[in-house]
Structure formats: structure tokens, C-alpha cells
């Protein structure tokens, strides 16, 4: 797996940037949230990738075996927290979208700007 070198990271960075792009370039408020989700999920992948040890196994102790290499548990813990934060943000963002739709009658950014004037 070491053979992959940095390639793995680069693909993940590409994924991140696809999400980031959707987030900042699109005018649809729901699409932005989807973009945010992809962006964040990809960051999670980056973290988990960093914690992987080639030939390692999930960090759950197995009785009796001694020579087991475990992958690093810390990124897992951090990402568990981050996932929760991510869904919390999405939920709040989506409820804002619902309210914006009720107030402005649209969820397209440019139309909102038009009606707000």
C-alpha cells in the first residue's frame, strides 16, 4: 500500500475541491449544503487515510494475538465527532433553507437577491 505514495491524498484533495466548488459556485441553497457535505466527507477521508497503517487492522483488541498492528485510533475518534458536527450543521442549514423558501419563495441565491431589493 505504501506503493500508492501520495496518490491517495491527491485523489482525496480532488474530492474535497469538488465539494468546495459546489459549495461556493452554486446558487441553489440545497446544492450548497450537498457541496458542504461532500467537502466535509472528503476531509474525513483525508483524516482516516492519515491514520491507516499498511497491514494494520481496526484498533479493537483481539484476545490472544500479540503481534497485531493496529491502525491509529485517534483520527477515527476525531472524525466520529466531526461527522456528528457535520450532520448538525446540515440540519440547521436545511431548516434555514426551508424558512428562506417560505419567506422568499425561492431557494436560488440570485432570485433571493432580486426579491430582497
Amino acid at each position: 500500500m505504501i506503493g500508492l505514495g501520495l496518490f491517495n491524498y491527491w485523489v482525496v484533495i480532488f474530492l474535497m475541491m469538488v465539494g468546495f466548488y459546489t459549495l461556493i459556485a452554486r446558487g441553489n441553497l440545497v446544492k450548497k449544503i450537498i457541496g458542504l457535505n461532500i467537502f466535509q466527507t472528503s476531509v474525513f477521508i483525508l483524516y482516516i487515510t492519515m491514520g491507516k497503517i499498511a497491514g494494520g487492522t481496526a484498533p479493537i483488541f483481539v484476545q490472544g494475538e500479540q503481534e497485531v498492528v493496529y491502525s491509529n485510533p485517534i483520527p477515527h475518534v476525531l472524525i466520529l465527532t466531526a461527522i456528528v458536527v457535520g450532520v448538525a450543521t446540515s440540519a440547521l442549514g436545511l431548516s434555514l433553507v426551508v424558512r428562506i423558501n417560505e419567506a422568499f419563495g425561492t431557494i436560488e441565491e440570485d432570485e433571493i437577491e432580486d426579491t430582497a431589493l
Binding site: A58, I60, L80, V84, A91, L94, S95, V98, N101, E102, G105, T106
Partner: protein
């Protein structure tokens, strides 16, 4: 609603299993993957399935919104409560060692309790959020 009989029966069979699975995830978290958060999500998912199939009204009668809000708040209180308890027992905040006579059991008990707190909050919050969304009606634009 009659044409959804299969759905309802299916759900009736499925939901107990989902809840059971959630409990398994909760208590198996020490040994395998899983824990309070995942269990809470699954619990909530089971209940949301119920609500989708039987209607929001039925769901709210089964589990009133107030109860859901109390759940969402109670989990945080349970978690922090463990912290206060350890403090009262002379340890640092969330130092589970002091919960029992020997540290290892204290840790186990502490983890169990805080995972319970997580479960309760996650379940409560997820259902509360679901209720909030489902209680909204589409605006004609």
C-alpha cells in the same frame, strides 16, 4: 392508507429488529464497532420509519414532542452529570476511575453511562429535528 398494508406490516416486523439492533450497537460498543452515537441514530431511524409509515400524528401520539425534547436535553445532562458525579466523588471532571472501587470498573461504568447520555441526546435531537421538518407544510410559490 389501505394500499400501504404491506408496508405497514413490513414495518411492524422490521421496527422491533431495528430497535434491538440499536441496543446491540449501544452495548456492544465496548467490544466492536458502535456506541451511543450510532445506536442513537439507528434508534431514531427506526422511529422515523414508524412515523413515515403510520403518519406523523400517530407517531406524535406514541412519542409526544415534549418527551422528545426532554430526551434531547436529558442526554447532555446525563453526560455532564457523570462529570459532576466524579467531581463530587473527589476526582477530576469525567475521571471515571472514582466511580467504582477499582479504576477499571469505574471506567467501564463511566463509559456505559456517558454512552447512554449520547444515545439519549442523539435520539431525542434526531427525532425532534425530524418532527420539526415533517411538521412543516409546503408553501406554494
Amino acid at each position: 392508507m389501505d394500499d400501504r398494508v404491506i408496508l405497514r406490516v413490513g414495518a411492524k416486523i422490521l421496527i422491533p429488529f431495528i430497535l434491538l439492533f440499536a441496543l446491540y450497537v449501544q452495548f456492544h460498543g465496548d467490544f466492536g464497532p458502535g456506541g451511543g452515537f450510532q445506536a442513537g441514530v439507528i434508534f431514531a431511524a427506526g422511529f422515523i420509519l414508524y412515523a413515515l409509515v403510520y403518519g406523523l400524528g400517530t407517531a406524535k401520539r406514541a412519542l409526544p414532542p415534549t418527551a422528545v425534547y426532554v430526551c434531547a436535553a436529558a442526554g447532555v445532562l446525563i453526560y455532564a452529570g457523570v462529570g459532576y458525579l466524579t467531581m463530587a466523588l473527589g476526582g477530576e471532571f469525567l475521571a471515571y476511575n472514582v466511580l467504582r472501587h477499582d479504576p477499571e470498573h469505574g471506567q467501564e461504568l463511566g463509559i456505559l453511562l456517558v454512552e447512554l447520555g449520547v444515545l439519549v441526546t442523539v435520539f431525542g435531537s434526531m427525532v425532534a429535528i425530524f418532527y420539526a421538518f415533517a411538521g412543516r407544510r409546503k408553501v406554494q410559490t
